[in-house]
Symmetry: C2
Subunit: 459 residues, 2 copies
């Protein structure tokens, strides 16, 4: 008889993975290389080293090693908040009356409130090990900035966070968490960089943008030998660090002999979903499973379901390397009514390539439906989910309801990336009934596509 | 050789206690009975039944059963967020350079953000079981209201929360969490009760007080047969439910053969500390240990260290039964610069009696020192603590530093009751260097003592 599955499956600290899983190594067709925007040639490690830590550059370019050791110092930090629980959603299942089994991997039980800490720890550790004194980054909603603040406090690194000005005004509490961890938070645009001063001169009073904050953070980093820039999503080495989510999930499920039929996650830049699916997808590529992978994006920012698979800039200021990815155009801006994250114009090249090869599906969901699911989840499972994570909840509920109709006993695993404690303004809109949906028209999308650089696309 | 102690000791779900621990049964000298304010005679169960659920009244009056069964339905809810981790503070110990071993029981990993959920679940369950349709309560900072909202959503009870008006304006996010769980949140004073209307007529524009919110919640509850009032601290049945904290801590420590020398916790109404120490204190009374128990209160609201041990009202509106307790006088108001909870004028009768009998010690700490400790804890242990919990952190750090001087290898356990995500306004004051301390003068205390009712005190 199968073992009774508890509400929460906790692994022991010894079971925290000793190696990350590098999905690139398993992929038969690798994603196209990043291009140097000046030469349009594939980026070399030397192109990236002035910007990123050496070890991260090596990991970014590693297409061959399927497993990469996690240094003991990083595992020691992981032990402070990992393994994260894999939860059986017994109460939600009962509420839905579904024959499906629903599991979620909950990454929100740490002070950063999300999975972002998994990569922040690794990147801060490598920066410290390289002898750097400080790192810079940008943050929008603030989850990534918070995670990196915690990691930098732990390893004794100075951190400068360029926070989109309008966000720093709307989310003063996020800013204070970062300051409590010792980070210097600068509303962007600022007068501390050339990029910032230029924007301020052109648009006095602007609320800033993620593109501008990236420009400021990168400029600040490359001007100092003892400083580097760190990024919280999109790139391969970030997905690599996030594979700890998938590896723990797989180990926990295997302990109870459970094999998922579907794996669902929200996709913005792709780091959480890329990390959650990594080892399962590696097995699928090797023919060891036939899991149905489903990425969920907001209908208001539908890069996979309505974007183009082309080379584009990673930032709206057009200063980064070019990446081959599903994109809405680096000039695309989600509508102002869009809540939470998942507002990136592009998508991780790894996730883009998986989608392009048909190894995973994608769906787009509307905001009010997402918050409906969030509310139901909060009331049944007791966790107030982040708006981002709630996209996955929506899809998981929909799939479970399909099972109710068909009678299928599917095993559904989804990623619950974080908590919504700093997103109560959006919840208030939902509670007040004033939340609205927005689906870009084809004309809206065309305006975004017009910002895609006009370069030969068949590299 | 002793087993290596992990960062976090998790019990399994099967190890969640099946019975609460009723410290009253173990106490040789029981605390004095509650008095009916009209008759000044000991309260009977019949006095309390119109206000509280029957089962809670029975538990409140139970001085004989050392163990009381936890219904399976409550354990099912507990399984959604318990057992909570017992954490070895390896990183903090190293940072302090202390030979002491520091452990903390972390109750903040649930959406209510604190231990309050442990009793909210129980009280909501008993209300539902009794056939009630709704419950009322008051909330100040919002932790208790949030916990009760979650519990009522789960068991399908309507909930009306009277939230101190100034708090509901200063903490709109807490209010939205409660609304997301389906609670009706009414800023108090309101025009929904006679008590509220009276206050509004006398003091138009008042920001309200906890005393007034209690009056409104009780009035609303007693006017309906299908409604009762529930309270989040002070009372014996609340401490009983919170004993799950101490029972789990004891089981986790015993697993590794660890015996605490000291147990530290913050004390406001006393529910968290009373719950944490319950089974350990029971053993001390039986001569099975000689643990040094230390309650920590704010210097600005020092009921144990500077209060009087007399009969006083539990609320400032003077409508509740009288309790024999350490009190600053039911008219005492902490200074406006005081951050967070722990602002109650009195103290749980059980905790008061323990202190009076010399079974525990108490100390008072100043606010800026508390936030200093909170910051250090956040940066080392990675958890952003609630201001309340940080009082215990302060004392634990001070004790560990004493051990550094003496070379003693004390084992220190403290209660980390919750997280500070909704307290960032206070953290901002600390980060900005604008936080101040306040210690009431003897004259300030005398003004509070003047509000203690003039009744014969030797019941």
């Amino acid at each position: 008889m199968a073992k009774q599955i508890p509400y929460k499956i906790y692994l022991s600290e010894d079971e925290i993975p000793k190696q990350w899983y590098n999905l690139n190594a398993a992929m038969k067709q690798k994603h196209a290389p990043f291009l140097n925007p000046a030469t349009l040639q594939p980026c070399t490690k030397d192109d990236l080293r002035p910007v990123f830590c050496d070890e991260c550059v090596d990991q970014e370019m590693n297409m061959t090693d399927e497993y990469i050791d996690i240094p003991e110092e990083i595992r020691a930090f992981y032990k402070m908040y990992r393994p994260s629980p894999l939860v059986r959603a017994y109460v939600l299942e009962k509420e839905l009356g579904t024959p499906a089994e629903i599991y979620y991997k909950f990454e929100g039980n740490n002070t950063s409130g999300s999975h972002k800490l998994n990569s922040a720890v690794a990147q801060a550790y490598y920066a410290k090990k390289q002898g750097l004194k400080s790192v810079t980054t940008e943050t929008g909603a603030g989850q990534w900035g918070t995670a990196l603040s915690m990691a930098c406090a732990f390893y004794g690194l100075d951190l400068i966070v360029y926070m989109v000005k309008v966000s720093s005004e709307q989310k003063p509490h996020r800013k204070e968490v970062m300051r409590t961890y010792g980070a210097t938070v600068i509303p962007s645009p600022s007068d501390t960089t050339e990029a910032g001063r230029k924007i301020l001169a052109e648009f006095p009073g602007t609320g800033g943008s993620l593109g501008c904050a990236i420009s400021e953070a990168v400029e600040r980093a490359v001007k100092s030998d003892s400083c580097r820039y760190v990024l919280g999503s999109v790139l391969d080495h970030v997905l690599l660090h996030q594979s700890v989510i998938g590896l723990e999930s797989k180990a926990a499920l295997e302990k109870y002999g459970v094999q998922p039929d579907m794996i669902i996650g929200c996709v913005g830049g792709g780091s959480n979903y890329g990390g959650l699916i990594a080892p399962f997808m590696g097995d699928k590529i090797k023919g060891k499973n036939n899991i149905d992978f489903l990425g969920v994006e907001p209908a208001s920012c539908p890069s996979l379901t309505r974007g183009k698979f082309v080379y584009d800039f990673c930032d709206s200021a057009k200063i980064t390397p070019l990446a081959k990815m599903y994109t809405l155009g680096c000039g695309f801006m989600p509508a102002p009514n869009h809540a939470g994250g998942l507002r990136y114009h592009g998508m991780s090249p790894v996730v883009s390539e998986l989608y392009h090869q048909g190894l995973m599906r994608a769906t787009a969901v509307e905001q009010t439906k997402v918050f409906e699911a969030a509310e139901l989840f909060a009331r049944t499972e007791g966790i107030l989910p982040a708006p981002e994570s709630s996209h996955a909840i929506r899809a998981a509920i929909d799939e479970a309801l399909k099972c109710k109709q068909t009678g299928e006993k599917k095993v559904i695993l989804f990623g619950l990336t974080g908590t919504g404690y700093f997103d109560m303004t959006a919840y208030k809109q939902y509670n007040d009934g004033t939340m609205t949906d927005y689906i870009p028209t084809d004309a809206d999308l065309e305006r975004g596509f017009a910002s895609i650089p006009d370069i030969p696309q068949n590299k």
